[in-house]
């Protein structure tokens, strides 16, 4: 019997922002408006109970690595599942601290664009599987996709597909791709750029930005060939249950983890 291909992954995204000197989970729309969702540990427990495949924590609160480490340390006390962590990671020491407190993979974005050699250095020191390069892009009025850094604030003239290929060449182990135009929209993932990226790179690709229904995940997995889909807004509200979503995706013919 031919072995089944590796499964596709479902990954809740927990964006962290600063509220009264605490990092709390928020959701955004087009990388802008922030709505408070709850405490990072409480949210994580819900996802762990529903057997999410991994969790991605991104600190968009600009509060520094120490505060992010504190959240991860607290989460790691009770959450025994893979954690990808990022937001403001700039140095080897940031990598080391986050790994020490429980992260399995570190996501880097702005620093990778400004100094691509940093990708290579971190992959050499910690292994490529630890290094996720996160790429945010916007499609402009003429339909041209461009990479944005600094949490969507600064435009570059990089094409996301070319940059994705370069990030792989510099040593990234995985890519996290997010379309700012779709973020928080519930209208579905931006599939064209995603598909081009999965065609040109050989490393795993996580698609993100815009999921509103189970079919959007299916599109990401089947049309765009993503290895994983990451969603923030979709999982933030209790009515979108991971277990039901998983069933719907599975019934659409996608090979995903069904064990509880």
């Amino acid at each position: 019997m031919e072995p089944l291909k590796p499964k596709k992954r479902l990954i809740p995204k927990l964006l962290l922002s600063n509220r009264d000197n605490n990092l709390v989970v928020v959701i955004t729309k087009y990388f802008d408006k922030r709505i408070l969702i709850g405490d990072p540990l409480s949210q994580s427990k819900i996802f762990q109970d529903q057997s999410a495949d991994e969790l991605i924590f991104l600190n968009i609160g600009n509060t520094g690595i120490k505060s992010l480490c504190e959240v991860i340390a607290r989460v790691s006390e009770e959450i025994f599942m893979p954690l990808t962590v990022g937001g403001g990671v700039r140095s080897d020491n940031d990598f080391r601290q986050l790994l020490k407190y429980g992260a399995d993979k570190i996501s880097i974005n702005t620093v990778a664009v400004k100094n691509p050699k940093f990708i290579t250095e971190m992959a050499y020191k910690y292994g490529a599987q630890c290094v996720v390069v996160s790429i945010d892009y916007r499609i402009d009025e003429e339909g041209k996709p461009l990479v944005y850094i600094e949490n969507g604030k600064t435009k570059t003239n990089l094409d996301p597909v070319s940059w994705a290929k370069q990030a792989e060449e510099f040593g990234a182990g995985e890519l996290l791709i997010c379309c700012i135009n779709q973020d928080g929209s519930k209208d579905g993932l931006e599939l064209e750029v995603l598909k081009k990226i999965t065609e040109v790179v050989k490393i795993p690709v996580i698609g993100s930005g815009g999921c509103g229904m189970a079919i959007h995940f299916v599109d990401g997995f089947i049309s765009a060939n993503c290895d994983a889909v990451c969603a923030g807004t979709f999982f933030a509200h209790r009515d979108q249950n991971l277990i039901q979503t998983r069933s719907q995706i599975f019934n659409s013919g996608v090979n995903i983890r069904m064990q509880n």
Partner: protein, 197 residues
């Protein structure tokens, strides 16, 4: 090396008493040893050698035969040699080499980052209470190639079988992360705490 806190937390969660050993002499006082690991081999083996941990581990594990668990990099460091980032002589507890994963097939990417069902030897007490083909979380670019099959405790398909766990006397090690594999991972850790090799 890397992810100590998650392993410590997981062991405590299942009821174990755990200390982080910063000095080689610390190993003398404890009953069983865990070698976790997230990262790359060159830094790992260099630190073990320089700190005196290699000597201490050889004594506690090979001579005093304390039950020992290696995880991911902590498993790979037990090989004879690793080819990650050069050529690195490792602890040589297992006659094995650590080499890069290659992916001849579409869909099987490198690094291997995913949950995979494992095929294991059901007579091994460390797998007690764990159904065959249960899924555990893997995140690696290199894998351990054992010279002798009788030390293979579990494998997974990528797409052909590769080492998922190894066992020799008092030493058990996994390529996957039990501390990241939710309930069944915690079960395995609990089994390790009770293991009398």
């Amino acid at each position: 090396m890397g992810n100590l806190m998650s392993v410590k937390n997981a062991i405590e969660f299942v009821g174990g008493d755990v200390i982080v050993c910063n000095k080689p002499e610390d190993l003398d006082k404890i009953e069983r040893i865990i070698l976790p690991g997230v990262g790359a081999i060159s830094n790992c083996i260099k630190k073990l050698n320089e700190s005196g941990f290699t000597n201490s581990l050889n004594h506690e594990v090979l001579i005093k035969k304390k039950p020992t668990l290696g995880i991911c990099l902590g498993m790979q460091v037990m090989a004879s040699i690793s080819y990650e980032g050069g050529e690195h002589k490792c602890l040589n507890w297992f006659d094995a080499e650590v080499i890069k994963l290659t992916s001849p097939n579409v869909g099987y990417k490198v690094p291997s980052i995913n949950w995979h069902p494992i095929n294991f030897d059901p007579t091994i007490p460390l797998f007690e209470g764990i159904p065959q083909n249960s899924e555990f979380y893997f995140v690696h670019s290199y894998f351990m190639n054992l010279k002798s099959d009788n030390q293979l405790a579990a494998s997974y398909n990528y797409p052909t079988p590769i080492t998922a766990a190894i066992l020799k006397d008092n030493i058990f090690a996994t390529q996957f992360h039990p501390e990241k594999s939710q309930d069944l991972g915690l079960q395995l850790l609990e089994n390790f705490l009770r293991w009398n090799p």
